[in-house]
């Protein structure tokens, strides 16, 4: 039960503990007593990583699906394609072949013409169609008697650290740090404001800084579990490498978590309704989900947009995490990213404290 009470100066029994500890405990209690929150923070990222890991696992090069239009001249072509590696051939009539191409079931249609030429129908914008064209053409030409003038050999490589899963796990970690920082802090504060609990709290001698700090302590404690779960899963199940220093990884996660916590405080600093805060959070996070290189490289966007994209906190976080985990970067190597994250931390906290509405 409770520890032995002590008597304070006014002669009252006193079993008091410090406010910051009670406030931080409150954060934990409100979190773990909300099963949905636990799911979104811990289980969802793992499910996502597992799903992506399976979808994008490194498979043997996929066979190209080819349709050959059935005419009198089609059977020698089908024979030669059947002998080629990496091709699956089916014979269809004209309209069925066109439909198969249109719906993406085949990558390319091969149509022999009466004059002996062969027509390749394919969409140049589809990578698998371009591959199919090369494979089919080589098989057809070889069957026609072409000899390759140069002998080549092949060495196949699949290196840890350069697979899609290696790319996506640090991205998911960054996205998770952002989501739990902004949602975790933002919703809790707006909810407390809506229920007039903030107003009730400032009617006590509670220090405002301790209240806000309790959210940061909570975030940092949760961070350990979040990072350990996601990285542990990536490493054990998919063999995602951890090449950089562990201390550096911890430092990146801590500063990122604080920066997103600051953004969460800022987003929640004035909103009075969950709906309002929710819209604002999506407005803040959506550009980062899209541009910051969670699922694909942020380098895919046009050069003109790069200064904007590189300045986003999540871009910096993802780049720093990948530099640490995949390249084993030096401290100097991640300094620009950490600088950007730290700038967001300082600016968002300063603004949040300035604009914060307690009523």
């Amino acid at each position: 039960m409770t520890p032995e009470p002590v008597h304070n100066a006014r002669g009252r029994t006193d079993d008091n503990t410090s406010a910051i500890i009670q406030l931080t405990l409150t954060r934990f209690r409100e979190f773990y007593r909300e099963p949905e929150a636990v799911f979104w923070v811990f289980v969802f990222p793992i499910l996502l990583a597992a799903g992506l890991g399976i979808a994008f696992r490194n498979r043997p090069a996929e066979a190209s699906r080819i349709a050959v239009v059935s005419t009198a001249a089609s059977s020698p072509i089908v024979d030669s394609l059947d002998k080629a590696d990496g091709v699956v051939v089916e014979t269809l009539d004209d309209s069925a072949a066109a439909l198969a191409l249109r719906t993406g079931r085949v990558a390319m249609v091969v149509a022999p013409k009466p004059d002996g030429t062969i027509d390749y129908k394919f969409d140049e914008a589809r990578p698998e169609s371009r591959t199919a064209r090369l494979v089919v053409d080589r098989a057809v030409q070889r069957a026609g008697g072409r000899q390759d003038p140069v002998r080549v050999t092949e060495t196949k490589v699949s290196e840890r650290g350069s697979r899609y899963i290696d790319f996506v796990v640090p991205g998911l970690l960054g996205m998770n740090l952002m989501g739990s920082g902004i949602w975790g802090i933002g919703f809790a504060i707006v909810d407390a404001r809506k229920k007039k609990l903030l107003k009730r709290l400032i009617a006590t001698p509670m220090r405002k800084a301790e209240y806000l700090a309790s959210f940061l302590f909570f975030r940092l404690s949760l961070l350990v579990v979040e990072v350990a779960t996601l990285i542990g899963f990536g490493t054990l199940v998919f063999g995602v490498p951890l090449r950089g220093s562990f201390l550096q990884l911890v430092a990146i996660c801590v500063v990122s978590s604080l920066a997103f916590g600051g953004l969460g405080l800022l987003v929640a600093s004035r909103a009075r309704t969950i709906e309002g805060a929710s819209g604002l959070m999506n407005l803040v996070m959506l550009p980062m989900w899209v541009f910051s290189g969670v699922f694909f490289s942020s380098g895919n966007f046009p050069d003109a947009t790069q200064p904007f994209i590189q300045a986003l906190p999540l871009t910096a976080v993802n780049d720093a995490l990948r530099a640490n985990m995949l390249q084993g970067a030096s401290w100097g190597g991640i300094a620009p990213e950490v600088g950007i994250i730290a700038a967001w931390l300082v600016v968002s906290f300063t603004l949040a404290l300035r604009f914060f509405r307690w009523r």
Binding site: T2, R12, D15, T17, A203
Partner: protein, 316 residues
Amino acid sequence: MPAVTTTPPALSVSGLKKSYGDVVAVAGLDLEVRAGECFGLLGPNGAGKTTTIEICEGLLAPDEGTVRVLGRTWKEDGPALRARLGIQLQETQLAEKLTVEETVRLFRSFYPAGRSVNEVISLVQLDEKRGARVGTLSGGQKQRLAVACALVGDPDLLFLDEPTTGLDPQSRRQLWEIIDRFRDSGGTTVLTTHYMDEAERLCDRVSIIDHGRVIALGTPRELIASLGAGHVVEFALDGASDRVDETTFAALAGVKSARRAGGRWALQVGAAHETIPLLLDTLADHDLPLTELSTHSPTLEDVFVTLTGRSLRDDA
């Protein structure tokens, strides 16, 4: 002036004004609450009670006027003052996921000195609910918990804003007992209410507030006595009220005032047994059908009606 006291007032407010845009909430209000008394701000919804009490609590800044709480001002001694006040706000919803004990312990942690968590939980009779989540409590239990959070810092001055609004009679009585006990232990209480029975039952002195001003001040007994009426006679005339006016009844012997609200009439009279026979005769003379007749001792409600011409529970 009251008998000489050396204790400064627990709360003194003078010339208080507060507007929200064009809406004047408090229009020049003065109060003085003595140490150790239970003081009630009585008035209809929208009278400015909550604005007044929140200015006194240091949660709102007044447009004009001065407030001294326990002899100090918010500007100079804000943080020190907080530790000596206990506050219950009208609309606060405490965190639903915490238990009763965790909630009280959290509030206790904000105060440099105060009562033990167990003591306060017993004081508000929530011992059996100690481990229950706040979300599972009844309205009355939640309100007692809110008062526990106000008492846990062992305050000198307790502010309660509409503490029993929306509660069932038993829960109201339980809260009244808690407030009585705080008063008996020497604490000062300022509460707002729009229940006249609550003000009469709890308060040593009451100030009646309407449209942001104090319109009457005194003990409940003094205020009621100021009516000069021994009884209030209420009756209803089945749809025939338009056939008479106030003067008909005001002229009866012993009637201090006559008032009509819809189909119901209220006469403040010196003695009911003297006036009722005369009233019945008059009704018979005018061929008016009497459908209800009742009498009661005058209450603060009657004081309010007399002062404003409106009922406390009307939507003012």
